[in-house]
Amino acid sequence: MTELLVFLTIGVPTLAAAGAWFADDRRAGALALVGFGMSTVGGLVLAGLVFAGGTAHAFGGLVVVDALGAWVMALVLVVAAIAGAGSLGHLAHERAAGTLRPRDVGRYYALLLLFAAGLAAVPLLDNLGLIWVSIEATTIVSALLVGFARTPAAIEAAWKYLILGSIGIGFALLGTLLLYASSVGVLGETSDALDWTRIVGVAPRLDSSLVRLAFLFALAGYGTKAGLVPFHTWLPDAHSEAPSPVSALLSGAALAVAVYALARFHLVTQAALGPAFSATLLVAFGLISLAVALPFLVAQGDLKRLLAYSSIEHMGLATLALGFGGHLALVGFALHLGSHALAKSTGFLAAGALVAGRGSRRIGRLAGSLAWSPSNGRALLVAALVLAGLPPSGVFAAEIAILLGGVRTGWGIAAGIAAAMLALAVAAVLFHAMRVSVASPRASTQVAPGPAGGPVSGRGSTRTRAGLLAIPLAAVVAIGLWTPAPLMAALEQVAVILGGGRG
């Protein structure tokens, strides 16, 4: 049963990708629908089984899904479904604007499916080496998507992403190697000496200096992929130049997967060396990321870069939560990853639709979007308010849980500093959100819409897109008001896996 579900989640989209690469536009769309649909259904059923019945194993121990893995996989798949559906509108616009080349649609869907499948595979794998291979593969595939538009800026962003991403994640491979060197000493030279399930079990017997070095390299490597400062320089470029559905997947899912890999290293390091070493580093890097993202949020004039810097801020917060530890902060961590994924992916899709309508990403030129594009404008406003951290929303509830949890586990000063920076971030994002939504647009925009200007999609597709954006946003807001019991139970299971005990 688990085998079948894993095949649906990873295998079907991979096969669909292979088909879509060679297919014409219409068939590629159908294959993408099948790929994303079956993968999301399969993955969500698998996650449900894990939350109801405990850790699942498959393929002779190659695949191990615990509550943490199930949660991250589920959020990847939901974001992938949103991005897949959002691609319809994106491609329709590109086609109308005449920027699509023949067979571009098939290649786009093939890469998007591979990207999603690679991300969803990471939380299912037991072997830390294969986790690295899978994350690096997603980097390479998504580099092709980032530069899909073939403009000089997109090529630059993709190039930076490919080179910096590969170098950065090379450090994570060194970290993985060093951990393997320490575990070989205990477990012997078997292929499962890189399985995190086995390493955690023998962690107290590992060579402590090797583990310490391994965590430092993993932090730099997966920290690069998670956009932690100072390894973040590629992120605003890649996330803003990519086609918007790809930005949604990069910001909503790929960052969460990198944080997941970091969390596994943190768990091993904690078990080997005690909590102080890795937790302190995570808190420090979390705070630095919050602090550095802030001025870029305040002074931002580009809507997609605003969302990208907001991702750096939020990944800083997630890292902080991991470092704080304790049941409350870790429940907050899980809720935060999920809520951020939903809000950020819809935010990027709404922003993409607005940008396509005006042919510019400048906030000044997009101003007054509630008036000129009500459904997208509304979605962007709600997403921005949620991402700013205003109540009621899952993001707000998660932030409160993380900060309170930090105070409880003795990180009062760090939590206080983080609270102050989050408050400033609220003000910054709110200011820009208001400008985009209600300010009067600059005169020049009415005269000269960009090269891709003007409404291109028909009424029907506008309505579907509005629904696509409204459902995840409504869910994020609703979670802030009322958390259903099964969801709460799932969040608590994730916290237990992360070492947070029972509340």
């Binding site: 090529i155 090379g170 070989v184 078997t190 580009d302």
Partner: protein, 221 residues
Amino acid sequence: MTLDPQTARAVIDACAAAIVVIGIGIAATRSIGRSIWLVAAQSILTGVAAIVVGLGTGASHLLLGGLLAIAVKGFVVPLVLGSVLRRSPVRRERHLLLGRQASIVAAVAIVFIAATAVTGAIPGTSVAASRALPAATAEVLTGLLIVMTRRKALSLVVGLLIFENGIALVAFSLTYGMPFVVELGVLFDVLIAVVVAWVYAGRMLDVLGSTSTDRLRNLRG
């Protein structure tokens, strides 16, 4: 077929020394074509070292891994990079961030730092290939040096490959390599990364008329 540990150690030491010398050579040259062939030679030596470790210790998966690495990084990758170079109008690094002498000095300094810092820093490395570890560290750092100081797209890929060779050397000087599936996966990733770099270098030529990353300075803030 096996190799007695004495011979194995001598061969590995020779490979490690040659790998380090090639690293300095790449830092010294401005010709992109030469740096591609030098990094190919370095990759082949890294593969040979892996095979020798495999023969000396009986870790048979290293034989296959080493052969595959030689095929991919020693032949396929340089051919791919060479095909971009033939299309490119500029085949030399100009306006280096670090002058030729300075980069030679930096590369040599890296070797000394690596040799003194790593020896004895990591406990429990009673491995046949222990002298390869300083060389491995030196190559990781030399790769970073190239990536940071060169501007041509192809030079950055060369830097990335030196970095990868360093990691591969770390892998079998510490632990006789990684589990075989992982090694395969890593090699596959290197290959597709180079192919994607090839795609983008081609697009840079089409759109910007050059593979100089100097032209890529528009994204800020």
